[in-house]
């Protein structure tokens, strides 16, 4: 492999990884607060159509990203209201949210097929053309946003008081409640943050990867994001590694097939199943090590019911 090809592969991997990284970062915060929102795919699709429509009508990519985030928040509030205020079952509500997002985005997208938009350009156009520096500086703002958010979330969870409270709410909601924190309030914030990130992740599809709208265009990446959070054992820095690893798996298949070589003999179905199988393996490894720091948040998926 030449240096040039390695750089090219890295650039493609970064692109493919960015939406799952952004969506998974949001879901990580949600899960650390003890909530399992399986509606990521649905929220991403709502973000994707919103981002597409805004960039199509205004041509402003940053406005599109902002409104995609807002649309994600709005969608996540359906989930939040049902599971937090009405303590409905999170699994069922998340699935319903995906059904909703898929249907809603297709409905809103009617008439927008066969309409091209433009991708968001590189953040540092001066350096993006350089054959070597572009591997670091050649990306659009969405890629740097994802990287920034990895650090921001790591810092938030590890170093801030608010992060501590959020983790407390996810680990032991009853004690958090008894010392006076609003469990429901914290979880609402987390769910809304997850919605915003899923919305932006969805907007990556028309703005970063393929400048068009097609029904269901996220094609299951929301579920990969859910797997990724688990794969990363709920740690932001591992999530970064995991996202690029998943992205590498997703694109290596294509590079191998397009270029020939021994890897191209692996059936595509195995490539596609690999992220999920790897996630199960990680789950098993975590459990065997019995390392408390890598366990799932204790309250994950359980509704909070204050005893009164």
């Amino acid at each position: 492999m030449t240096t040039e090809l390695i750089i090219a592969v890295i650039i493609t991997v970064v692109g493919a990884s960015t939406p799952i990284l952004i969506a998974a970062l949001g879901e990580l915060v949600v899960e650390r607060a003890g909530v399992l929102n399986l509606g990521v795919e649905g929220m991403m699709l709502v973000g994707a159509i919103t981002g597409f429509v805004i960039v199509f009508t205004t041509g402003n990519h940053y406005l599109a990203i902002a409104l995609a985030a807002a649309a994600g928040v709005a969608t996540s509030l359906i989930f939040g209201f049902l599971t937090l205020s009405l303590s409905a079952n999170q699994t069922a509500t998340g699935l319903a949210l995906t059904i909703f997002g898929t249907g809603f985005s297709a409905l809103a997208g009617q008439g927008f097929s066969a309409r091209p938009v433009t991708l968001l350009g590189p953040l540092f156009p001066g350096l993006a053309g350089d054959p070597v520096w572009r591997v670091i500086f050649g990306y659009s703002a969405l890629v740097y946003f994802a990287l920034f958010m990895v650090l921001a979330i790591w810092w938030f969870l590890k170093k801030t008081r608010a992060g501590l409270i959020l983790r407390a709410v996810g680990e032991n909601d009853l004690s958090a409640h008894s010392i006076g924190y609003s469990v429901i309030g914290v979880r609402y914030m987390a769910v809304m943050f997850g919605g915003a990130m899923a919305g932006i992740a969805g907007a990556c599809f028309p703005l970063l990867l393929t400048p068009q709208w097609a029904d269901g265009m996220t094609a299951g990446r929301g579920w990969i994001a859910v797997a990724l959070v688990v794969f990363a054992s709920w740690r932001p820095l591992r999530l970064l590694v995991g996202a690029y690893l998943f992205g590498l798996v997703m694109t290596t298949e294509l590079y191998a097939k397009a270029g020939g070589g021994p890897l191209s003999a692996i059936p595509s179905e195995l490539w596609a199943a690999l992220p999920y199988l790897a996630t199960i393996v990680v789950l098993v490894l975590i459990s065997i090590r019995r390392d408390a720091s890598t366990n799932a948040p204790a309250c994950l998926g359980k509704p909070f019911v204050p005893s009164n």
Partner: protein, 361 residues
């Protein structure tokens, strides 16, 4: 429980009788009801979109004489059977099933509704009231391959497909044969992505090709994703599939292969109205206008245009067939002797690649 069972039984009997009633009630001067079922949504920028354009063309051409209905997102399975029956029961006289996997169910439902005509796209099983239809897309591929052979600088082409079904293999082979008539060193790499609807994966496949020296890309997955990447990267180019996609890639689209289902839909509907419809396999191509070649892109020089037009005209007047031997397979062994042309049946079960294709493992 017995009451329940009896009511179900009764409903079954009524269900069996109703088709007779409905065909009796159908009067001659009412518009012909034509139904379509699509595997995806009409906003897929591709296959289903093109069929829906054909439906709209049918409405436009025959006006009040027809009334059309479509059902989208119908999975290839028992759900299709239900939808087909729904259309037949609600008085549709002609039903187009536009995806291969509907075949079993078209035959089943057609048996129950002998008065309703069915047409199954890309299928091969027929019955008295079931016809099949397809388009000779490979004729368009031969034109595109000619352009690619002239224009590719690296001599490497890529082909993004969903699954290696005969129709796709035919396309790969026609493209490669045509390109190698111009440039004998031209090679073709097909990449199958195992999905019909994942534009981001198509785009990544295109990136993987371009990064490894492929400078002409064509695709069988219908969406414009690969072309958009070609435009963004500034490679020699690619080809619109299904429709003119110059809006997505004004520079990179060298030309496009347009699926024009409209005329077939008009002919079939007119034949039912006239009482001349019969079960057959129609497989029209460039000659009948069912496959069209879109405008050439700005990069295509005049002499290349002329060469491509010659291939097109040759296929229209019957003097040129891309699948006439000598043709070697990818190992270099002769597969079709000189002067022999592959039959339609041989094309429809094609599972081998011609020389110059790097076969996927």
């Amino acid at each position: 429980m017995t009451i329940n069972r009896r009511t179900i039984l009764k409903s079954g009997l009524t269900a069996a009788m109703l088709p007779l009633l409905s065909s009796v009630a159908f009067a001659q001067d009412e518009p012909l009801k034509v139904g379509f079922i699509y595997i995806g949504t009409i906003n897929d920028n591709g296959w289903n979109y093109a069929h829906n354009q054909g439906r709209l063309y049918l409405e436009e051409q025959l006006g009040d004489a027809v009334e059309t209905t479509y059902v989208e997102n119908v999975p290839e399975g028992p759900d299709a059977e239900r939808v087909l029956r729904e259309l037949a029961q609600s008085g549709h006289d002609l039903i187009f099933a536009t995806s291969f996997g509907y075949g079993d169910y078209v035959l089943k439902v057609a048996q129950q509704f002998p008065d309703v005509k069915f047409e199954h796209a890309t299928g091969y099983q027929r019955a008295d009231n079931v016809a099949t239809y397809n388009a000779r897309f490979h004729e368009g591929r031969a034109v595109a391959g000619t352009v690619a052979g002239h224009m590719s600088e690296t001599g490497k082409g890529g082909y993004i497909g969903s699954f290696p079904i005969p129709e796709v293999v035919m396309g790969v082979n026609a493209f490669t044969l045509a390109a190698r008539k111009v440039n004998p060193d031209f090679t073709m790499t097909p990449v199958y992505i195992s999905t019909w609807n994942d534009p981001a994966k198509e785009a990544d496949a295109a990136r993987a090709m371009i990064d490894q020296g492929i400078d002409v890309i064509t695709q069988h997955t219908d969406g414009p994703a690969a072309l958009q990447v070609a435009e963004e990267r500034g490679i020699v180019g690619g080809f619109g599939q299904g429709a003119d996609m110059s809006a997505f890639a004004p520079q990179a689209q060298l030309t496009s292969i347009i699926d024009n289902w409209g005329p077939h839909y008009v002919n079939a509907a007119q034949a039912v109205i006239d009482g001349t419809w019969e079960s057959k396999d129609s497989w029209p191509g460039l000659k009948e206008g069912e496959v069209q070649i879109g405008p050439y892109g700005p990069k295509v020089p005049e002499d290349v245009k002329a060469a491509a037009e010659a291939v097109k005209e040759g296929q229209i007047d019957g003097t040129f067939n891309i699948f006439t031997g000598p043709i070697n397979d990818h190992t270099g062994a002769e597969r079709v002797p000189a002067g022999v042309t592959l039959t339609d049946a041989e094309l429809l079960s094609m599972d081998w690649y011609v020389e110059g294709v790097n076969p996927p493992s």
